[in-house]
């Protein structure tokens, strides 16, 4: 199990030039979009993504403004002189980008990668947590 502190990633990275809209041009390498499950509970959002064959070192979770990108490269234990005779997975890279909404606290995202499943927990800002409003009678 691995834990990535996204806050450091966010601050420590110098991004290449942005275009007029402020968004980075999409990477040109071919990639498939991993299947995801997204759940929301009172405290935040949980995102699960299937990324089989991606090791911890080749996983990249990037935060750029309100855009959250997950990307990973597949590395398989191959034998010498192997030639493929059947391939259903033929793009060795996963990539998908999500736009976060403002009440989510991007600086406290936690990431876990286990058995090829990436799990992200995106908590809500403290002030965005649900609060029950009592209704006054009268």
């Amino acid at each position: 199990m691995t834990k990535t502190d996204l806050a450091t990633t966010e601050r420590g990275r110098t991004e290449p030039s942005s275009d007029a809209t402020g968004r980075k041009p999409a990477s040109t390498t071919a990639a498939t979009a991993p299947a995801v499950d997204i759940f929301e509970d009172a405290g935040g959002i949980t995102l699960l993504a299937d990324m089989p064959g991606v090791a911890r070192e080749s996983l990249d979770v990037r935060l750029d403004g309100d855009s959250l990108a997950i990307e990973g490269e597949v590395s398989l234990p191959t034998s010498e002189g192997m030639r493929a005779i059947w391939a259903e997975v033929n793009v060795p890279r996963y990539r998908r980008t999500f736009t976060l909404s403002r009440e989510l606290d991007a600086s406290r995202i936690e990431a876990n990668l286990k058995d090829g499943v990436l799990s992200l927990r995106i908590p809500k800002q403290a002030h965005a947590q649900p609060r029950r409003i009592s209704v006054q009678a009268g």
């Binding site: 299947a35 995801v36 997204i38 990324m51 398989l76 002189g81 997975v89 736009t99 909404s101 499943v117």
Partner: protein, 150 residues
Amino acid sequence: MYDAMFYRPQGLLDQLSTLHQVLTRSLAADGAPDAIRSVAAGAYPGINVGRTASSLEVYAFAPGLDAASIDVTVERGVLKIAGERQASRPGQDTRIQAYAAERPQGRFSRAISLPDDVDTAKVQARYRDGVLHVSISLQETAQPQRIQVQ
């Protein structure tokens, strides 16, 4: 409010891939025959097969499983991979809202018919990073050998 979290732009490639699937199905009657155990594209788990001079290597892209619960059997020349993926939804709490549920779950099973030259007594299976790697040795007589010239 959360549209952006599950909205997936339909790029040109997505449309092409849908078109490809539709065309493949409608042309299937005239095309090459299907393998008897073939499954629809995108079935879980995806399988890649490679071959070396001494072995057949099968990779099943099956993320999120418990290694001990994967059933790998070789019987009468058919390699079968089966297992069950637990639901990812955290509990039955009705306050939990699901926005995307694309990951397959439940029982799965896939079968591959092996070539005749494999040695089914020498099979190794490992599960790492969500990929099940089954390595099957080829029979000694099927492996390349150097002949000494007298």
